[in-house]
Each structure stands twice: as structure tokens, then as C-alpha cells.
């Protein structure tokens, strides 16, 4: 069905939505700290897909966000890299202090 039509923005949004949900579920279910991080990356990626789709002049010559979409996607990517660096540092610290990467055991501040 898709192969004989033309791809519209909606299909890109759908892919973005699926990636977003996969990432969210990943964040919720993984017990490994790094698994949670990967979920975050997927979520950001899904969101980025929306920006690209709306900013694309190829998909929507009229009414597209134009450059703004691409620029915001760029900023998201840069911030995601920063986020990953800090999160990894936190993960390593957590591992050093607790000798585990299981987020369920990060409950020391629990009263």
C-alpha cells in the first residue's frame, strides 16, 4: 500500500512515534542503567524525526518549518551528546560507588 502511494509527513511521524514509544518502554523496563540511557537516546531520536519531517521541504514544499526544523534537530543532537557524556559519567560514578549498574538498587536515599 505504501509502495504505490507517495510518502507523506505522516509516515515519518509514525516512524518517529514508534521509536519514541520503544525508547520510553525501554526506559521503563530496563534495569541496566545503560539500557535506560539507550532508551533516552531512542526517545530523542524519535522526537528528532518529527522535527526533520516537519522541516523537510522535500516532503512538504508548502507549509514546512523550513530551516527551523533542521536547526532544532541539530541542537537536539548536540544536547543529546552532552547528555550522554554526563549520564555516562554518572553511571561510572554509580558503578564505582555501588558496584552495580542495576537502577533498582539505586535506592539509598529512600527513607
Amino acid at each position: 500500500m505504501l509502495l504505490i502511494g507517495t510518502v507523506s509527513v505522516s509516515w515519518y511521524l509514525a516512524v518517529g512515534a514508534v521509536l519514541f514509544v520503544l525508547g520510553a518502554v525501554c526506559m521503563a523496563t530496563k534495569r541496566n542503567l545503560l539500557g535506560v540511557l539507550m532508551g533516552v537516546e531512542l526517545v530523542l531520536n524519535g522526537a528528532n524525526m518529527n522535527f526533520i519531517a516537519f522541516g523537510s521541504k522535500v516532503l512538504r514544499p508548502e507549509g514546512s518549518l523550513g530551516l527551523d526544523g533542521q536547526l532544532i534537530a541539530l541542537f537536539v543532537i548536540v544536547l543529546a551528546a552532552a547528555e550522554a557524556a554526563v549520564a555516562l559519567a554518572i553511571a561510572l560514578n554509580f558503578y564505582n560507588n555501588h558496584n552495580t549498574v542495576d537502577v533498582d538498587r539505586a535506592n539509598e536515599l529512600n527513607g
Partner: protein
């Protein structure tokens, strides 16, 4: 010959389906795999396919950026983390069944809402035609770079108030992001540095002091509980004392 002559202008669709399927498929791989390293590997492939989708949508610079920063930089960092923490106990961690059920329900409903939104608007659903020349014109990276330095080539003709005041560019966010990156660099390096007190110091006396400190600490706790254990700790402490003296 007849088969060959079939016109087939559906390359965009073909590659869209290809990249979307790999992106989503490997996304499921990330979700369902239990091994951390394999998860990272699937994530790389998923992000790479997404970069392919970006290329397809005409955002070449963002696609290359995705490959370079996300896949090249972030993922290497991630794999680093995996390796530093990948030990037999943590490499496979099972998720509790109730978590799975809950997450699937919540995620499924979220997906329904998002898909409903995605296909809800008639404007988004109807594909628009575009010629090859127009497609080529959208792939320029120069306007992007200019926009980052505060000049919007695409809105020059509009001469709205925002443009007149030079507000439509992204110079300010660009500077903020660069400073942010610097802060993150320093912060991450500070947090992930080797702790001098934990291990791997060549200074013998400081290591001994650390052990002493640990044991004293232990001792305090234990004193409240049991005298016998404390006694044992003290006897273990003695040789260290003598070592510390010289």
C-alpha cells in the same frame, strides 16, 4: 523487455520502507535484547537507519551530523560504559514481568495517541509533489550554516520585524550550546575522573591511611554492636599501623 520497461518512480518509498523497517526493527532489538552490548549494537544500527531517513527527507547535514555525533561519538562512549561495567552479573538483567505488562500497556496507549495524531491531520497525510530540481535545491548546507551565525537566507525576503532586528537567526542558541558543551566536557571529566582515594595510587602511605580510615569507620559501627568483632578488627589494624609508621 516489457518488465524492464516498467516505469518505477518509487525509490523514495522503497528506501523509506527499508530504512523505517530497519530503524523500528532494531529499535525492537534494543528493547527485547537482554545483553547490553547487543543492545548497544542494535541501537547503533537503529540510529544509522534513522540517519538514512534524514537523508531521505532532504536533511543531509543533519543526517551526517547524526552519523558523526550520535553514532560515532555517543555510541562509542556508550560502548565504553558498557565495557567498563559489563561483568557477568550485569550483562544480562531480566526485567520483572509486571514491569513488562505495565510498560506495554502504557507504551501501547501512548503509541495509539501518537499515531492518531500523526494521521489525524489531512494536511500531513496528503503527500505533496516536488520536482527533482527542487529536491536538489533543498539540500544546500550553506543556509544552515548562515542561520547558525545569525543570518537567515530563507527569510531575507520577508523583512518581518523579527528579521529586521536580527532575531530570526540561531546565533544565541549556538553560543549557548557551545558554552554548554564546554561545561559538560569539564563536568563529565570531573565526575568520571579516577578517585585518588579509591584505588590505584602509588603512594603507599595514602593507601594505608585509606584502609585505616575504612577500618576505623567499620570499627565505630561495630563497637556499638559487638565487642568481639571489634577486637578482631583492631588486631587486623595493628600491622597496618606499624607499616604506616615507617
Amino acid at each position: 523487455m516489457d518488465l524492464i520497461a516498467v516505469a518505477w518512480p518509487y525509490w523514495h518509498q522503497f528506501f523509506f520502507v527499508l530504512f523505517a523497517a530497519t530503524a523500528i526493527g532494531f529499535g525492537f532489538g534494543v528493547l527485547l535484547s537482554k545483553n547490553v552490548v547487543r543492545m548497544a549494537f542494535y541501537l547503533v544500527l537503529s540510529l544509522g537507519s534513522t540517519a538514512g531517513l534524514f537523508f531521505l527527507a532532504g536533511a543531509e547535514f543533519v543526517g551526517a551530523m547524526q552519523l558523526m555525533i550520535y553514532v560515532g561519538g555517543t555510541m562509542v562512549l556508550l560502548i565504553f560504559g558498557v565495557m567498563l561495567t559489563a561483568q557477568k552479573d550485569f550483562i544480562n538483567m531480566d526485567t520483572h514481568t509486571q514491569d513488562w505488562i505495565l510498560a506495554t500497556i502504557v507504551g501501547g496507549s501512548l503509541l495509539m495517541v501518537l499515531l492518531f495524531g500523526a494521521f489525524g491531520s489531512e494536511d500531513w497525510k496528503t503527500p505533496q509533489d516536488i520536482t527533482d530540481a527542487e529536491v536538489q535545491a533543498t539540500k544546500e548546507a550553506t543556509p544552515l550554516g548562515l542561520a547558525l551565525t545569525g543570518i537567515r537566507v530563507d527569510t531575507l525576503g520577508e523583512s518581518t520585524d523579527a528579521v529586521a532586528e536580527g532575531k530570526s537567526g540561531y546565533l544565541m542558541p549556538f553560543i549557548i550550546v557551545s558554552i554548554h558543551l564546554l561545561v559538560v566536557l569539564i563536568g563529565a571529566a570531573y565526575m568520571a575522573r579516577t578517585k585518588k582515594l579509591s584505588h590505584a595510587t602509588d603512594d603507599k602511605s595514602s593507601r594505608a591511611k585509606l584502609m585505616l580510615f575504612k577500618m576505623e569507620h567499620e570499627e565505630e559501627q561495630l563497637e556499638e554492636e559487638q565487642y568481639v568483632v571489634t577486637h578482631r578488627a583492631k588486631s587486623a589494624l595493628n600491622p597496618l599501623d606499624s607499616e604506616n609508621e615507617d
